[in-house]
């Protein structure tokens, strides 16, 4: 279990996809640093060498045409490299993250509301009951149709529990305003938008207890819209599921 260290730089990464993000962040920042330092040296050199002083005067003629062409081409090439070497792999990486639907996933619905995250699990049968905003009530905050048998064993909790080493698909929606589902240790952010259901997938590589946050201003309580994010071992996850089931009164099965 990783000890969550939080400091002045990236928090720990316990996801299978996070390295793509971290690697790109690193490459781009080195690239930026190189450009910045290069320019900085050039500027400082110019300021020293060409400062106004006795006996020094400016040159009217622009720098040699060959030099200027070379520079403009250089800029364009550098930009091209950014595009091809960084943007395209990034795009490929994105496809990796969102397009390939993994096998044997855990599917969890996340329903955002001012100011909490509700996580809806399908229960033993693995099937969610029919969902509709008209079914939302104090007893059924996830909006499950009370007449749908598939929903009888559904349960909902205010913390996100997942097993380690298994892909998790989270289907995000919101009851009221726009929220954003953010898990820094998973390098994951996705807006939860009322009227839409958006799926994200991720997979944890280590167990631990972290946080889910909201990254989109959603009102007064936005700053405290967090939930526990618990990554269990496979056995731990099963034990947790059983416990939740017992709480529903299904322990007789």
């Amino acid at each position: 279990m990783k000890d969550p260290q939080y400091g002045w730089w990236l928090p720990p990464d316990v996801s299978t996809n996070g390295w793509v993000v971290d690697q790109l962040l690193a490459i781009i920042h080195w690239f930026m640093l190189a450009l910045f330092v290069g320019w900085g040296i050039f500027i400082i050199y110019c300021l020293l060498r060409f400062r106004a002083r006795e006996g020094h005067s400016a040159v009217y003629e622009p720098i040699k045409a060959a030099f200027s062409k070379w520079l403009e081409v250089g800029v364009a090439v550098a930009e091209g490299v950014v595009l091809v070497a960084l943007a395209m792999p990034a795009w490929a990486a994105i496809k990796n993250i969102t397009a390939e639907v993994p096998e044997n996933p855990v599917i969890i619905r996340a329903v955002a509301e001012q100011f909490k995250w509700l996580f809806h699990y399908s229960g033993k049968d693995g099937v969610f009951g029919a969902i509709g905003s008209e079914f939302i009530s104090t007893d059924s905050p996830a909006g499950v149709d009370p007449d749908d048998e598939a929903g009888y064993d559904d349960f909902w909790v205010y913390g996100l529990h997942i097993p380690v080493d298994r892909p998790v698909i989270t289907r995000l929606s919101s009851k009221d305003v726009i929220h954003s589902f953010k898990i820094p240790v998973m390098r994951l952010t996705q807006d939860a938008i009322p009227g839409l259901e958006i799926a994200v997938w991720y997979q944890a590589t280590d167990t631990g207890k972290f946080q889910v946050g909201c990254a989109q201003l959603c009102g007064l309580g936005h700053y405290e819209m967090k939930a526990d994010f618990v990554i269990h071992s496979p056995e731990g996850y099963q034990a947790w599921l059983d416990e939740e089931h017992a709480a529903l009164g299904f322990d007789d099965e």
Binding site: Q5, V21, I43, F50, I94, E134, D176
Partner: protein, 584 residues
């Protein structure tokens, strides 16, 4: 000469004795309007900054009573002097709104554009002086509505300067005030934009061809087109939102909303994303509105103080026009996380990378312009030089945000706040300071004090970085923006030291403005007059009497050469003014 008629009109105008009200309050003279804009915008900027200083207290010392000010605020804002979350959200939304729409845009376009553009193109005034006056008045009305909204029940708008629906649709009445205020501010910008376009196209002096226009004028021309074409989208969106709030429509409200456990009464069927598209269709061009005039000022100041022509003036102009065009094709890079498909995100990533090319070219040209110069370091030049690396940081940090994958992590974090502030604060604001120090002698006939100016520069430079550099690291550490109390999250706990550094720098930055404020007012009362052309500059505004009279030029100037003819071999002095002889 197509503008003779105009000359005749305004010149005869100047013979009338104007009373106080016509001269200073309801003036149609572009210079007076420019100064009105400038002073009003500086006051708003300082106000917006003060809101931020209160927020910085809450961020550094969450839950502790705000010193001095806390005791003065009503209990809808504070509890025993400590900030309430509703007040924090109002401050955040209003800081953003005030800085962008009531501070920087009016300062960069309304003030500098108005004052400098007609002078630099050799015109007697703007094309539509009364429209110009109306534009200023609409701005003041919009601004006052925004400020008064703090008194609305529930306080000012609190849904961020972006006012994302549905949150803004269901917010307290301050949001309605915000929308009405915005409608006035947009109206003001639209009037101004039309005026600038017509003025620059029609009122150029004889011989002032497009490629003899100073780069600053070009930047204002492109900016005016951006305002004219982008703002209508937000104007429409603001009216829609107003109707959602007041007339029961559902432009931005989807069906089936359940707010606070109650089913919403709205008919539904609308789309929250529609608002985002309309908003960002304006707001991305808007960020170029915030930066282009600043680049224009920096280009002027650099050319004059290196005593040589701008390097690559033409490619700068082409880049500028291309940039303006492309800025309409990138808006959805603000919406990567709304669940858009791969095709869409690829498109917007590519356009975003493409739009960075012209910015890089402009910045490179400015940097290369230093080569071979004879560089002087007066205060405006210090600010202009500092602009280069500061804007550089702002631009570079835009790269990871423009690529969808790193944006997945950085979106809505303090990294974003750091990124765009490097563009608009040490970037644009430094350019604005450069402009103030640069044109002050022309506007007032007095020079500003150099030593106070240098003190102001160095302190501002240090503290600007002290504020915004820590934010980059906070963002990397995963701290979200718009958090009333960042310590709720363990990412925020880890980065709290950075927050404290940032806050103290903000307060020190405020103190660093004292030398400037003193310098600004005290210099006006100086006895000794500034020279008419203290920087030995070539552009037309320096060929007028100081301060320029109503009608600007004693007789219409005739332009003979480009704007940056410095150190021409064989010339009598190291600058060859654009117009030597005057027309009849």
């Amino acid at each position: 000469m197509r503008n003779t008629r105009h000359w005749g009109l305004t010149m005869s105008d100047s013979h009338d004795e104007l009373n106080f009200w016509r001269k200073y309050v309801f003036s149609t003279d572009h210079k007076t309007i420019g100064i009105q804009y400038g002073i009003t915008a500086l006051v708003f900027l300082f106000f917006g900054f003060s809101l931020m200083m209160m927020m910085r207290w809450q961020l550094a010392y969450p839950g502790q009573a705000i010193p001095i000010i806390g005791a003065l605020l009503g209990d809808t804002f504070v509890n025993r002097g400590a900030m309430l979350p509703e007040f924090y959200n109002q401050l955040g939304a209003m800081h953003g709104t005030i800085m962008v729409f009531m501070g920087i845009v009016p300062l960069a376009v309304g003030a500098f554009g108005n004052f400098v553009v007609p002078l630099q193109i050799g015109a007697a005034d703007m094309a539509f002086p009364r429209l110009n006056m109306m534009s200023y008045q609409a701005f003041v009305i919009g601004g006052v509505i925004m400020l008064l909204s703090f008194l609305a029940p529930g306080g000012a708008a609190s849904s961020g300067w972006t006012s994302y629906a549905p949150l803004s649709d269901i917010a307290t009445s301050g949001q309605t005030w915000w929308l009405i205020g915005m409608i006035f501010l947009i109206f003001s910008s639209l009037l101004g934009a039309i005026n600038f376009i017509v003025t620059i196209i029609h009122l150029r002096a004889e011989g002032m061809t497009f490629f003899r226009l100073p780069f600053f004028v070009w930047s204002q021309l492109v900016t005016a087109f951006l305002l004219l074409l982008a703002f209508p989208a937000l104007q429409a969106a603001a009216v829609f939102q107003l109707m959602d709030r007041l007339a029961g429509t559902s432009f931005f409200l989807p069906s089936g909303l359940v707010v606070g456990g109650e089913a919403s009464a709205a008919v539904g069927g609308g789309s929250p994303l529609l608002w985002q598209h309309l908003f960002w269709f304006l707001a991305h061009p808007e960020v170029y509105v915030l930066i282009l005039p600043g680049m224009g000022i920096v280009a002027e100041v650099i050319a004059i103080n290196t005593r040589k022509p701008l390097w690559g003036y033409r490619s700068m102009v082409y880049s500028l026009v291309f940039l303006g065009f492309m800025s309409f094709c990138v808006w959805a890079h603000h919406m990567f996380l709304t669940g858009m498909g791969t095709t869409m995100s690829t498109f917007f990533q590519i356009t975003t990378m493409i739009i960075s090319i012209p910015s890089v070219i402009i910045l490179s040209c400015l940097v290369i312009s230093l080569w071979g110069g004879s560089i002087r370091f007066p205060v405006p030049m210090l600010f202009a030089l500092a602009f280069l690396p500061m804007f550089g940081i702002g631009g570079l940090t835009g790269l990871p945000l423009g690529l969808a994958v790193p944006d997945v992590y950085l979106h809505d974090s303090y990294y974003v706040i750091g990124h765009f502030h490097y563009v608009v604060a040490p970037g644009t604001i430094f350019a604005m300071f450069a402009g103030i120090y640069h044109w002050y002698p022309k506007a007032t006939g007095r020079a500003m004090n150099e030593s106070l100016g240098k003190l102001h520069f160095w302190l501002s430079f240090i503290f600007m970085n002290g504020i915004f550099m820590p934010m980059m690291f906070e963002g990397m550490a995963g701290v979200s923006r718009r958090l009333f109390n960042p310590e709720v999250y363990n990412t925020g706990l880890g980065a709290h030291g950075l927050t404290v550094i940032s806050s103290w720098s903000a307060w020190c930055l405020a103190l660093s403005q004292l030398p400037f404020i003193y310098n600004f007012f005290a210099s006006m009362r100086k006895k000794e007059r500034a020279e008419e052309n203290p920087w030995q500059a070539t552009t037309l505004e320096w060929a007028t009497p100081t301060p320029p009279p109503h009608g600007n030029f004693p007789s219409p100037p005739v332009v003979e050469r480009g704007p940056y003819e410095y150190s021409v071999p064989g010339a009598a002095s190291d600058f060859s003014p654009q117009a030597v002889k005057q027309g009849v």
